[in-house]
Amino acid sequence: MNSIHDMGGMHGFGPIVVEVDEPVFHEEWEGRAYALSIGWFPASQYKEWGGFRHNLEKIPPKDYLNMSYYERWFFVNEQKAMQLGLVTEEELNNGNADPNYLMPQLEPHPDSSLGPGRLDLEINAKFENGGVVRAKEINGRAHNRLPRYVRGKTGTIISDNGIYALQDTNEKDEQPYDDPQHVYTVRFSSEELWGNASHGNDFIYLDLWESYLEFA
């Protein structure tokens, strides 16, 4: 989806602010919120991070910018737990589980046949190193990993990283994970991407699933 998370190439955010000797977590709640994301993952019905990322991206732009990084993480976990009926708003307001609340029988976690990570499959590669490709215009509300700033742009394949299940979710936030594809690293020139604002010696590299690409 085309929302504020897809911010590559935007102006207006000001300088990079570096905090010297920054702690890993600034407040205890940040660490707990982070760890909760890991710790409850098996119960969360996410197949992998794609579904989690899609929920982050669905935070309205104003709220996305108003929230801190860990606040966003926590927010989507809180929402997801309620969405699944694992917790109720009342329980969260009270701070304790309601012993009389019956959790729904969730469908068994629909394991992907493929799962994340590099897959040991044999699939013919459509593109080869040195090949010139164009990134497609993919603008639906579903989640993908193709930033707006490279869509429609032409680049060169510099490596084939092997086979991975496509991480995209569909609009319903399902993550089918049944579409294994080659993932290529593609090199784009700054000139191609940014025209008058480019530098002739800058190059941007992205890892793109085969279905994001077409012959240029």
Partner: protein, 230 residues
């Protein structure tokens, strides 16, 4: 440094306007520091309570084990961090065979040191040379090689870094104090899939006599992201 409340007068906006910084203390407008500090600080006052509530309720329902959470926090606060990536870099500097393996197949070579893991299962190592400088970003979220660098710093997750690294890397590096000559090629790695990137910085001059362990001590996090050199 950005955590203190700033009382910035209206005039500051005017000076900073060209780069989008803004500040009017009497209104809702933020200045750039306020804005960035939102990345770890904006949370409403009850966020700590809400986090506690969710953890407690999930724990009481046996959906979460708080000792697992304790372990995760401890892991990233105390055990996993840039010192891991530094070991990889130092080994590559002293062992040319290892360096060749590392650049050829980062995953396998980092696996030799048992430094793979969540958000770092598939590693690519990119080498800085006299001709090429590498910089890592994740524009869509904040992908980062957790097992080798730990959790990312706030600036890496900031809108400013995510937005600017791909369109004006040289301006970004300049803000980190790094002037890259026009003749040097800059490669920006936007982490969009499952590959995670680690920059292999150039071995600093004057470090010829150091051993591997001493070398590891001079490798900084920022040099492995590509916003600094050594």
């Amino acid at each position: 440094m950005s955590r203190d409340g700033q009382k910035i007068d209206r005039r500051k906006f005017l000076k900073g306007a060209a780069v989008g910084a803004a500040a009017v203390s009497s209104t809702a407008i933020s200045n750039a520091q306020d804005q960035e500090s939102a990345d770890h600080q904006h949370a409403p006052s009850d966020i700590a309570l809400r986090v506690k509530a969710l953890e407690t309720v999930l724990t009481e329902k046996n959906l979460v084990d708080p000792s697992v959470l304790d372990e995760v926090v401890d892991r990233y606060e105390n055990r996993i961090g840039p010192q891991n990536g530094a070991k990889v870099v130092a080994k590559a500097w002293v062992d040319s065979d290892y360096k060749a393996r590392l650049l050829d197949d980062g995953t396998a070579a980092i696996g030799e040191l048992d430094l793979l893991g969540t958000e770092g299962e598939h590693m690519v190592v990119v080498e800085n040379t006299a001709e090429v400088h590498n910089l890592v970003v994740c524009t869509l979220c904040s992908c980062y090689p957790w097992p080798t660098l730990g959790l990312p710093p706030t600036w890496y997750k900031s809108s400013a870094f995510r937005a600017r690294a791909v369109i004006e890397p040289r301006a970004v590096l300049r803000e980190f104090g790094l002037e890259v000559s026009d003749e040097t090629e800059i490669r920006v790695w936007d982490s969009t899939a499952e590959m995670r990137y680690l920059v292999l910085p150039r071995r600093p001059e004057g470090a010829e006599d150091m051993n591997e362990s001493e070398l590891a001590d001079v490798v900084t996090r920022d040099s492995m992201i590509g916003v600094a050199i050594l």
